[in-house]
């Protein structure tokens, strides 16, 4: 019991420091890989967490055309991403093929996305969902009680990515067109002109066919239905959550940032700066935990001393016997110190081990909370 007390006293600050350090490293490592993020004006934390750590949230989208505008700047790469939906609780990250190239995400099993409705799972997501290539995964309904909301789409799992130790491990990757299908902007249904079922028709003229609500949009995208899927918007107007921007030089970075920030509805952020802000907040919390740990530690230490003294008193007969059979007082003291020292050593050792272990697995732990 004493061991567990020592473990808790030493472990709490050590584990907190270790996890916070890993969290800092994770945020910094991810942030420095992307020089700039462009999105709608609003919470900068939400924008960075959504686009770098796949935290599915209702960030106001920006039109895809902004990515094309940014790309028109010489030497600039722009990768639009869409994060709004989930599949069995795992965020669906809709990315173009360039994202896999940039992050060096390669399949461990199966292949990368090659068509509408296909999904590639991060390694943790595959383990958590228990899915392999060939399985199907339904997207989660955004608003369960809203009958006007687009229906769920059955995704086909075509691959599982190698483990990277980043947020990419716990994501379901699809292409942007699939995300727009989940949004309801793209859909597939029977050819309107060929519908003869009176229940599905409200009216028909030479150039117009009015379909009734009985026409069900396809929820499964396969060989037989993929040809009927079509977009209902100009490509430039399609929504994306954010655009990861990789300017070729400082000059182009300044040009892009200035142009984007000139529009009050948009913002261009440095993920590193935002991450440092976030880390600063976490550090403040860690300092509070440290102070509490110190107070608890001092109290616990007092209790330990008290327990040791009581233990010495309770074992007075044992001490007397030891002295009578020839043990010196220093040998008796050494015996007691060894016993207590062992307890403290095991407790502190276990605390260090816990800090090391939880620090190593902090990415997994943090993804559960983001």
């Amino acid at each position: 019991m004493l061991c567990v007390c020592v473990f808790v006293i030493a472990g709490l600050p050590l584990v907190t420091r270790s996890v916070v350090r890993s969290f800092e490293d994770s945020l910094r490592d991810r942030a420095i890989t992307v020089p700039m993020i462009v999105g709608s004006a609003g919470s900068r934390f939400d924008l960075v967490l959504a686009s770098l750590h796949w935290r599915a949230s209702d960030v106001t989208p920006i039109p895809l055309g902004v990515a094309e505008e940014i790309r028109s700047e010489p030497g600039v790469m722009a990768i639009p991403v869409h994060v709004r939906f989930r599949a069995r609780g795992i965020p669906i990250a809709a990315v173009p093929y360039e994202y896999f190239e940039y992050r060096l995400l390669t399949p461990r099993d199966g292949r990368l996305v090659a068509g509408l409705g296909e999904a590639v799972l991060g390694s943790s997501a595959a383990a958590e969902l228990g899915l392999v290539p060939g399985d199907e995964l339904p997207s989660d309904q955004l608003r369960s009680y809203d009958i006007t909301a687009p229906s769920a789409v059955m995704l086909r799992v075509v691959g599982v990515l190698r483990e990277t130790g980043t947020a990419d491990d716990r994501a379901v990757f699809v292409d942007l067109e699939t995300a727009w299908t989940l949004e309801g902007i793209a859909h597939g249904h029977e050819e309107a002109s060929s519908i003869t079922d009176e229940n599905k028709l409200i009216g028909r003229s030479d150039d117009r066919v009015a379909l009734s609500g009985a026409v069900i949009e396809h929820q499964r995208i396969d060989e037989s239905t993929i040809g009927s899927f079509h977009l209902h918007a100009d490509r430039a107007d399609l929504p994306v959550t954010a655009i990861l921007v990789f300017p070729g030089s400082e000059k182009t970075a300044t040009l892009v940032r200035t142009r984007i920030n000139a529009d009050p509805t948009r913002q261009a952020l440095s993920p590193s700066a935002v991450s440092e802000e976030l880390i600063g907040s976490v550090l403040r919390v860690r300092r509070v935990v440290d102070a509490i740990s110190l107070v608890v530690g001092i109290a616990m230490l007092g209790l330990l001393v008290l327990v040791a003294l009581l233990s010495y008193r309770a074992r007075a007969d044992e001490v007397r016997t030891l002295l009578e059979i020839g043990a010196t007082p220093s040998q008796v003291a050494a015996l007691f110190l060894t016993e207590f020292g062992g307890v403290i050593l095991v407790g502190v050792g276990a605390a260090f081990l816990a800090a090391w272990a939880l620090g190593g697995a902090s990415d997994r732990i943090l993804t559960l909370f983001t």
């Binding site: 360039e98 992050r103 060096l104 190698r162 899927f229 620090g359």
Partner: protein, 300 residues
């Protein structure tokens, strides 16, 4: 003590899981130094501009119509690995609109056009919360107009120069020669226009060609092989088309009986105008020149 031992074992296991990270193999994402095209006309233009500087591959099989073809996942992966993908654009290759291709390496040659694309009004229908919406179909055969082909060639040259800057001069020189040849063909067609040749072309697929040279267009829903015997009464008898000898373009030969009826009864000369959509490996300018030769020969 037992509780602590279990805790230690659990922590070691957790730590080992955290350390198990496999490095990605970037070889699978290797970009190949090749240009992959999606349809025969842009393939012909791209080959002409690229010359022997860079390899150009058309992955659409000969037997398939590029407008309706849907590549399998392995073929899409081949396109994804190409350093440059050249598509016609204007919605011609339907699969390109929804395929996860690397857009930063995709050139849609029709984007180089300065004139508006021709849209064929599709069907308007209403369903769901969106209400009325129209599925407009864009006429994809932009290359049939020689000036459009020049604009497409310029867009392709810009894309090639970005992807392979070391061959920029060669691409520029090849573009100059190709543009000169296409301009000559354009002038031949312009001369026909100035001479007042009576030419009628189905709006699909000849909309761009007819718009350029002021030819009359005919909205026909059937492909030439399905043209009815009474085709003339399906619009050509209208006063707008005038009277007297005329040339009617077709991209495939119709039933010989239909051709004979048009010629003998109405003095309408059918002219086969190859679109080249499936003529892989053929010279773009030779094909166009052959079309103009046939047209000139048939003008009464």
């Amino acid at each position: 003590m037992r509780l602590l031992s279990l805790l230690v074992i659990a922590l070691v296991g957790l730590a080992l899981c955290g350390c198990d990270r496999t490095d990605a193999s970037p070889d699978q994402l290797h970009i190949e130094d090749v240009v992959r095209t999606t349809s025969a006309p842009v393939d012909a233009l791209t080959r002409r501009i690229a010359g022997d500087a860079v390899p150009v591959e058309l992955l659409c099989p000969q037997s398939e119509d590029p407008a309706a073809w849907r590549p399998d996942p392995e073929t899409v992966a081949s396109y994804q690995r190409a350093k440059l993908i050249v598509a016609n654009g204007a919605g011609y290759e339907a699969w390109v609109q929804t395929a996860p291709l690397p857009r930063s390496r995709l050139i849609e040659a029709a984007d180089g056009l300065s004139e508006p694309l021709i849209t064929v009004r599709g069907e308007t229908h209403s369903h769901g919360p969106e209400g009325h919406h129209t599925h407009e179909v864009t006429l994809g055969e932009v290359w049939l107009d020689p000036l459009n082909a020049i604009a497409q060639a310029r867009a392709i040259t810009a894309g090639l120069a970005d992807a392979f800057p070391e061959h920029q001069d060669k691409f520029g020189a090849n573009l100059d020669v190709l543009s000169t040849e296409l301009m000559d063909l354009h002038q031949r067609l312009e001369r026909l226009e100035q001479e007042g040749a009576a030419i009628v072309a189905p709006s699909t697929p000849f909309g761009y060609l007819a718009r350029r040279y002021g030819w009359q267009t005919l909205d026909l829903s059937q492909a030439p092989e399905d043209w009815p015997m009474d085709l003339y009464s399906h619009g050509m008898e209208s006063g707008d088309f005038g009277s007297g000898p005329r040339a009617l373009l077709c991209d495939k030969p119709p039933d010989p009986a239909v051709a004979n009826t048009l010629l003998e009864s109405h003095d309408v000369h059918l002219v086969l105008w190859r679109t080249g959509s499936r003529d892989r490996g053929k010279s773009f300018t030779e094909m166009l020149s052959g079309n103009i030769d046939r047209l000139e020969a048939s003008i009464p």
